[in-house]
């Protein structure tokens, strides 16, 4: 028995549970059946945990308490978030069969709210990639066209939601890894302000950029999930101590007087003209709803990719050194000595993209290169932050496309890393500045979704949601379903 989540948002599911029209056990079983029915097409999950999920559902049904908005509702988790006793591999061979002894804080919070994770979604290895093709385990497909990539790195989470397997999922975003797959799959993906959600238990790629966030079909669903996973965590000293507002509070559909900035650089060279047109139409719709729209400049945007790939790879090169075959995870056989153990384990355990970034980062931090690379990149980061600060003096949100193109074919770009890196140009600056950024569906090009990116001031996710909700409710684009919806 499957469940058609296209017709039920989180509020509706919650109501059904409260009214005893369904049970948590039914929802979890249906979700597992959904995955069974469609994962041969989507390949969204690396691991599922039916026993523990059903067990949690039964306990919840027995208690009969569905006070919390997420209680009894199933979800999927990106495979880089620690789940106690369940393989968490970051889609890497080096962590094959690795079962953490602890659970990520964001997941703990969902568990405490009664939400039930059914599995671990596919991703680019260690979140390095934009197409989910660097996974050691499988290649996930786009929910709208299975010959296309789902985007990445959180491609499994995005496809699972867009393909109707789960009502919502968590992903992580270091340079666009939530927003870009959300755009490619026509759903809502939020990267919150850096520090909003604890990173405890998130397998680090780049510590100063990584942030966990929700994938949902609607803006309101997204705000509900962020309400649950946000907040300070004593185990993460980079998590923010400020209070968490109710992110649904500004979901009125009203954007009258909202001051929207549109950076001209976000419609420049390399942006597919049809994407530009779709996004501009979406912006026009917001203007028609009463927002004011002005063109602005973020002059250092063009340096973002270079700065990002230096900072991200530098931090990643250090963060990934712990995978050495000594303590846990994969260890190469047949080693002669310590150096051999390190070299063979890491050579066999990591894929090409991971190795590429480790080398790039190691070089950027080396004594001869540090000033010209890491230090300069850090300076550019400051300039990019200043660009945003200046615009936010006069505007409430910044909008533009999420990605330069719609989803491309599987295998098309994977051998051209530079082209892949350049495709992150519109999402990267948001991570460098630590801002909240969300992608909502702006329309379609060749039946493939286009993302509208909405960027907010630090810790002002509420206004980002307000903007996205107004557009979503006016455009009703979330009602359009991919063909895979017919499977349920």
């Amino acid at each position: 028995m499957t469940m058609n989540y296209f017709d039920h948002d989180l509020t509706s599911l919650h109501q059904q549970l409260v009214n005893k029209e369904t049970t948590a056990t039914e929802l979890v079983q249906a979700t597992l059946d959904n995955i069974k029915a469609t994962d041969d097409q989507l390949n969204a999950f690396i691991t599922t945990n039916p026993e523990s999920a059903l067990e949690a559902a039964k306990a919840l049904d027995k208690a009969g308490q569905f006070d919390n908005a997420l209680a009894g509702i199933p979800l999927g988790l990106k495979d880089n978030m620690a789940t106690k006793g369940i393989q968490t591999s970051a889609a890497s061979r080096i962590l094959k069969d690795f079962k953490p002894v602890y659970t990520a804080t964001a997941v703990d919070k969902l568990n405490a709210a009664g939400a039930i994770s059914v599995g671990k979604a596919n991703m680019d290895e260690f979140a390095m990639g934009g197409s989910t093709e660097t996974s050691y385990y499988k290649t996930t497909t786009n929910a709208w066209d299975h010959t296309k990539v789902p985007g990445g790195s959180s491609g499994g989470s995005a496809a699972a939601v867009a393909g109707g397997q789960v009502p919502f999922a968590l992903g992580s975003d270091t340079g666009g890894s939530i927003r870009q797959p959300a755009a490619f799959n026509g759903i809502v993906g939020m990267k919150p302000t850096y520090g909003r959600v604890s990173r405890w238990g998130l397998f680090a790629m780049a510590s100063s950029l990584d942030q966990i966030g929700p994938f949902t079909r609607t803006v309101k669903d997204n705000a509900l999930v962020l309400n649950t996973i946000s907040g300070h965590d004593q185990r993460d000293s980079t998590s923010a101590t400020r209070e968490v507002p109710d992110f649904t509070s500004k979901l009125t559909g009203d954007v009258k007087g909202l001051r929207i900035a549109v950076p001209k650089e976000y419609f420049g060279e390399g942006i597919d003209e049809r994407v530009s047109v779709t996004v501009r139409a979406a912006i026009a719709q917001l203007e028609a709803l009463g927002a004011t729209v002005d063109e602005v400049s973020l002059p250092h945007t063009k340096y973002g990719v270079a700065a990002y790939y230096i900072i991200m790879s530098s931090e990643a090169s250090s963060n990934l050194q712990r995978y050495d075959g000594v303590k846990y995870g994969f260890r190469a056989d047949d080693v002669k000595n310590l150096e051999d153990l390190y070299v063979k384990t890491r050579s066999e355990g990591f894929g090409d993209e991971v190795k590429r970034r480790i080398m790039l980062g190691t070089f950027s931090l080396s004594a001869g290169a540090y000033d010209a690379f890491f230090k300069k990149a850090a300076k550019i980061r400051t300039l990019i932050i200043e660009d945003f600060n200046k615009v936010f003096e006069d505007y409430d949100v910044i909008v533009g496309p999420t990605a330069p193109t719609v989803a491309y074919g599987i295998g098309e770009e994977i051998d051209d890393p530079t082209a892949m890196y350049l495709a992150d140009v519109l999402t990267i600056p948001v991570n460098l500045a630590g801002l909240p950024g969300m992608s909502v569906n702006a329309g379609f090009v060749d039946n493939l979704p286009v993302g509208l990116q909405i960027i907010g001031k630090p810790f002002d996710e509420s206004t980002v949601y307000q903007t996205g909700y107004a557009f979503e409710q006016a455009s009703r684009l979330f009602e359009k379903k991919p063909d895979i919806a017919k499977e349920y």
């Binding site: 510590s207 000293s237 530098s314 004594a367 890491f374």
Partner: protein, 477 residues
């Protein structure tokens, strides 16, 4: 040796006795089962995050204050990257760019009595590594109990010019650090270890010679021996026209020599960069003032106080402030009412002799400051004689209460004149000849009479009091 000038710089690591580790809640404890005190953070599991121990930062501030250093107002952490099994994250969290203290100094007293000021470049807080051991079964083992223990590394200027100075510096540094209360500085447990850099240059040369490094030496004598050997070795090489290579050597105690480990070709590249998992820390003036309040009195201040306020001799005050344990013990005994000079004499004399004889440290014994003070009070108020005190001393060293012990074992002086006078009168009545002798000027008679009195009181009479009453009685007869 006379052709060359020796230049020595020391980098000293001291383990700080915080309850928990620098970046994880695991306990800091020596002597546990392997990996008993290591959690997922210490193991460098994926997804774990460090949280800086505020206590370790405050301990770092204490050391900086005690070394007269400037405290850095805004500190952030850095990563030092290198692979080794005892370094589970493959980076050490340290403070390379913003050490907690800079520009300090320490004064050392040389053998000829002159005082030399040794500059301290900087001191920084960082985490210790675990331990690798190589089993006889062909396997290597990693114990991460020590991993993450907070260290303070104290880097001297190259101001030391002989092995003697280096040893004096280490002894003084150990003392200063110990009196901040941040470490017991137990050398045998590796709580203080020195990396030694030494080079020679011809007198008058304005550039330093190539330096040789010796790492992790945990005995002052070894540092001395290693430096003495290196001075000779390097001089011999230079005199014969050779050059010193930049190398790492190891001190070998059996041969009292240094052995080449590896030649350094260029500097190691640890790819330092700012630690992105830890928020930077602002150190406000208020915080500094608060920590200054908690800083225990230094050895110097205590020594001066003992002399000026308690009337202790300079030399004795020196001895009492050799270790914080001794000084704390002394202060507590005096606070408990022990007469300061007599308490000092006991600590310096009998207690030290006991420790030396039994090869133990003060905290290893059962002696408490209260018991020592109690015994001194018994002597002062005449309850026991100094002779009786010898037995009481043996008892308090094994944990007995001095007053109880003295009473139970009859070690109590008879000092009450009301009790002594009848006994004395009786003995005088029975010895008229002695009174005659006394009147005739024979002083010997007094000794005889006292002997009789002591015999009658089983030796418990207070000789001072007996003497006084006896002389009065004799003169009255």
């Amino acid at each position: 040796m006379s052709n060359f000038e020796t230049t020595i710089g020391l980098e000293v690591h001291v383990e700080m006795k915080t309850n928990s580790k620098l970046l994880s809640p695991s306990p800091v404890h020596f002597g546990s089962e392997p990996n008993e005190n290591a959690n997922a953070i210490d193991f460098g599991y994926p997804g774990v995050l460090p949280v800086a121990n505020k206590g370790a930062i405050e301990f770092g501030m204490r050391v900086a204050m005690a070394l007269h250093a400037d405290i850095t107002p805004f500190i952030r952490w850095d990563r030092k990257n290198y692979f080794y099994p005892d370094n589970p994250k493959a980076y050490q969290t340290t403070q390379s760019q913003t050490p907690i203290g800079t520009n300090g100094y320490i004064d050392i007293t040389l053998d000829d009595g002159t005082v030399k000021r040794i500059g301290i470049t900087e001191m920084h807080v960082e985490e210790d590594a675990g331990k690798n051991t190589h089993g006889t079964d062909g396997y290597s083992y990693v114990d991460l109990n020590r991993q993450g223990t907070p260290l303070i590394e104290i880097v001297s200027e190259p101001d030391l010019s002989s092995p003697e100075e280096a040893k004096a510096y280490l002894e003084q540094l150990r003392k200063v650090v110990q009196f901040t209360g941040v470490s017991d500085v137990k050398m045998q447990e590796g709580q203080m270890r020195a990396d030694v850099n030494v080079s020679l240059r011809p007198y008058g040369s304005d550039t330093y010679g190539t330096k040789v490094e010796m790492k992790n030496i945990n005995s002052f004598n070894y540092v001395y021996n290693a430096l003495a050997f290196e001075e000779k070795r390097q001089a011999r090489v230079l005199m014969s026209g050779g050059t010193i290579r930049q190398e790492t050597r190891r001190y070998d105690e059996p041969t009292k020599s240094t052995i080449l480990m590896r030649v350094k070709e260029g500097a190691d590249d640890y790819r330092y960069f700012p630690e992105p998992d830890l928020a930077p820390i602002a150190i406000s003036q208020d915080w500094i003032a608060e920590v200054a309040q908690s800083l225990p009195e230094s050895a110097n201040d205590r020594r001066q106080r003992y002399v000026s306020e308690l009337g202790i001799e300079q030399y004795d005050a020196d001895v009492l402030t050799q270790t914080m344990e001794m000084a704390d013990f002394y202060d507590q005994a005096v606070t408990s009412g022990g007469e300061p000079k007599r308490v000092a004499n006991y600590l310096i004399g009998d207690v030290n002799a006991y420790l030396n004889k039994n090869q133990v440290e003060l905290p290893d014994t059962q002696l408490t400051p209260e018991h020592l003070a109690g015994m001194v009070k018994l002597i002062e108020d005449g309850t026991i004689s100094t002779k009786q005190a010898k037995k009481v001393f043996e008892a308090i060293m094994v944990g007995e209460d001095p007053a109880e012990y003295a009473h139970q074992h009859g070690l109590v002086q008879l000092s009450d004149p009301a009790q002594l006078t009848p006994i004395i009168n009786e003995i005088l009545d029975n010895n008229p000849q002695s009174i005659e002798d006394f009147k005739g000027g024979k002083d010997r008679a007094v000794g005889f009479l006292i002997g009789q009195i002591m015999k009658a009181t089983k030796g418990q009479a207070n000789p001072g009091v007996v003497n006084k009453i006896l002389m009065q009685a004799l003169n009255e007869r």
